[in-house]
Amino acid sequence: MTELRYIRAVNMALADAMEADPTVVLIGEDVSEAGGAFGASRGLRERFGEARVLDTPISEGAIAGMAVGAAMSGLRPVLEIMFMDFTTLVMDAMVNQAAKARFMFGGQASVPMVLRTPHGGGLGAGPQHSQCLEAWFAHVPGLKVVCPSDPASAYGLLRAAIDDPDPVVVIENKALYAMKADVEGTPPVLPIGKAVIRRAGTDATVVAYGAAVRTAIAAADTLAERGVSVEVLDLLSLQPWDEAAVLASLSRTHRLVIVHEAVEAFGIGAEIAARMAQIGFDELDGPIMRVGAPFMPVPFSKGLEDAYLPSAAGVVRAIEKTME
């Protein structure tokens, strides 16, 4: 058993992928000489050389365009966008080029690239450095989106993303970077599109991903003391998401709550709720509840941000509501 931090798991996955495949290159702002704003690529320039770990100008559009071109010409680039808020600037390359190439070239082209970026608040980083925009990418056919919730899944999903022949957006919650967990050797590569049950239960299902999984487990602990058995399902992949696992869990518990840190409106939760209302209709014994951030920019003030982020107490209330 060794202790592994989330950010170290990301670093390990990048290193192991670069070791295994010489076409894997890293591109981003401050990823090379500084080792990444959060330290994800620390030591990699020294180990694999400047040519494979590239610092770029402050132009996300250029980074993404370069990555798409490199991917279409034989490399496996992993680009880092320092804050997910800045992915607004990569959209043309990601949406119109990376996501479309396989389809527009009759399946003869693929874009094996990975976009790594941290989302999420809790660090007092303000409205332009805290947003959760994963639903934007999940809405685009041709892109895959994953969101690891702990060190092991951070390693396993990033390795899977780099191995994948198509563009994958890997979203890390920056509040989890310091998270520690005990792991046995190197964590396994995880399949994209598979959810895992983090906690088994019989009375209600809480579907969560990323940092919200911790919130969901805290809520489940609270309710367990009151004799309510909550199942927590960690999606891990948002696009494609594990519809079968959610339906199976709903069929056991008959009540569904979806939690994410992103604003509630028009989010991943809306998609899951809509699908389950359709294919899981006859399993429902209460309304499907969503817990997410209010429809507001993330506040800067610590006090306001604490109130803004979904809490375990909020998840408890939602579970109680669906069990009324």
Binding site: H254, F281, D282, E283, L284, D285, G286, E324
Partner: protein
């Protein structure tokens, strides 16, 4: 609600005091015109579509499907004319509804909910286990029926065959109405019975010849029984009476009620003036009436106008049926199976005959044993001599 008038539970028959709101055909916000069906009412006898008297918009529904609503109580609000202006207007529709609830006639909370709430899982389990949601009280918000409520009400079909505890389920509104009426009948009507066996050997021959070659209409044994009863009634119009609120009421005509087993339960449509119909017309009309009853297409008038009914269980092999009189009538003839018997002929030798067991249940407030016996004898004579039944009875004794 400015400009909203109540739509009330109509009185569809003389003795109707409440009706089961079986289903809504409109929703709040719907614009309707005269003749559009608003809702369906079931009484113990029939299902009736209630139509809008004029144009209007439905504002809200005050009763749920499955509610039993007193006659005259509002079931909805709309912008059209009050549906029964002759009824005393209640100042507050909701007040009237809640009163009905406190009287205990409503099986569910008479909150003015738009529909009965239940979860999808509860509905699925109810479907699978044959539980009637209309009879349940929901424990969820706004009375929502949840899976646990259905499970609690479901008969435990797969329970091991121990006889530890009896299973219960709430009666459906229709079952409750039937139970109430029949209990009232047995409690208030002093029943007595006269029994006879009718020799129908001849009748069976006549019937076989009439039906030979698939001719239409097809005559049933029950057509002959109805005809015999109707002829007896037309010949002895003094039998067309019933007890009503301390008065003896004469009901003109020779209508005969025919008990019909339907998916909704037992209902008794009336073949009006059956005594004046030739057997062919009688058979045709009776078959059509029974079909309408089975399909739930009876009209309000189809269950009125008779003081005597026929209930025939002859198809089962049961020898005799001792029936309960309909509370609106004064007699009912129970008909059993036809069975072969040996009877002595004129020379005392055994002869094979076909006989049918008859039980006439009578209300002793309007008949006595002698009169009942004479009446039943007329019926038996009719069945013994079926050719007489072919001809219509033109006696017009009480008809003017």
């Amino acid at each position: 609600m400015a400009g909203a008038n109540p739509v009330v539970m109509p009185k569809l028959g003389l003795t109707m005091t409440e009706g089961l709101l079986a289903s809504w055909r409109v929703a709040p916000g719907d614009e309707v015109k005269a003749g559009d069906v608003l809702f369906v009412v079931e009484t113990e006898k029939i299902a009736t579509e209630i139509e809008a008297a004029g144009p209007g918009r439905i504002e809200s529904l005050l009763a749920n499907e499955g509610d039993v609503v007193p006659v005259g109580a509002p079931v909805a609000l709309w912008t059209g004319e009050s549906s029964r202006s002759e009824r005393p207007e209640t100042p507050d529709a909701a007040e009237n509804v809640s009163r009905s609830a406190t009287e205990g006639v409503s099986a569910v909370p008479a909150v003015a909910a738009e529909r009965r709430l239940s979860t999808p899982l509860a509905r699925r389990i109810a479907r699978e286990k044959g539980v009637d949601l209309a009879a349940l009280q929901g424990s969820g918000p706004r009375g929502r029926i949840k899976a646990a409520d259905v499970e609690a009400a479901a008969p435990r079909a797969h329970a091991p065959a121990d006889h530890a505890s009896p299973q219960r389920r709430p009666a459906t509104p229709v079952e409750r109405i039937v139970a109430d009426r029949l209990s009232a009948s047995k409690r208030t009507i002093p029943h007595f019975y006269v029994l006879a066996d009718a020799d129908v050997t001849e009748l069976l021959h006549v019937r076989a010849e009439l039906n030979a070659g698939g001719a239409e209409p097809k005559f049933t044994v029950n057509h002959f029984v109805v005809a015999a009863l109707a002829r007896a009634l037309a010949q002895a119009p003094e039998f067309g009476v019933r007890w009503t609120d301390g008065m003896i009421e004469t009901v003109p005509g020779s209508g005969v009620g025919i008990a019909v087993d339907t998916p909704r339960g037992l209902i008794v449509p009336v073949l009006r003036d059956a005594g004046t119909l030739g057997l062919e017309d009688l058979a045709r009309d009776a078959s059509a009436l029974v079909l309408r009853a089975r399909e739930g297409r009876l009209l309000p008038g189809d269950t009125a106008g008779a003081v005597i009914s026929v209930s025939n269980v002859g198809m089962t092999g049961v020898a005799h049926l001792v029936p309960i009189i309909d509370p609106d009538q004064s007699a009912i003839l129970g008909v059993g199976a036809i069975k072969p018997v040996f009877r002595p002929d004129a020379e005392g030798r055994p002869a094979l005959r076909q006989e049918m067991g008859l039980v006439l249940a009578c209300d002793h407030r309007v008949f006595d044993g002698m009169r009942a016996a004479r009446f039943l004898d007329r019926v038996v004579q009719g069945l013994n001599h079926p050719l007489r039944l072919l001809r219509a009875e033109h006696a017009t004794g009480v008809r003017s």
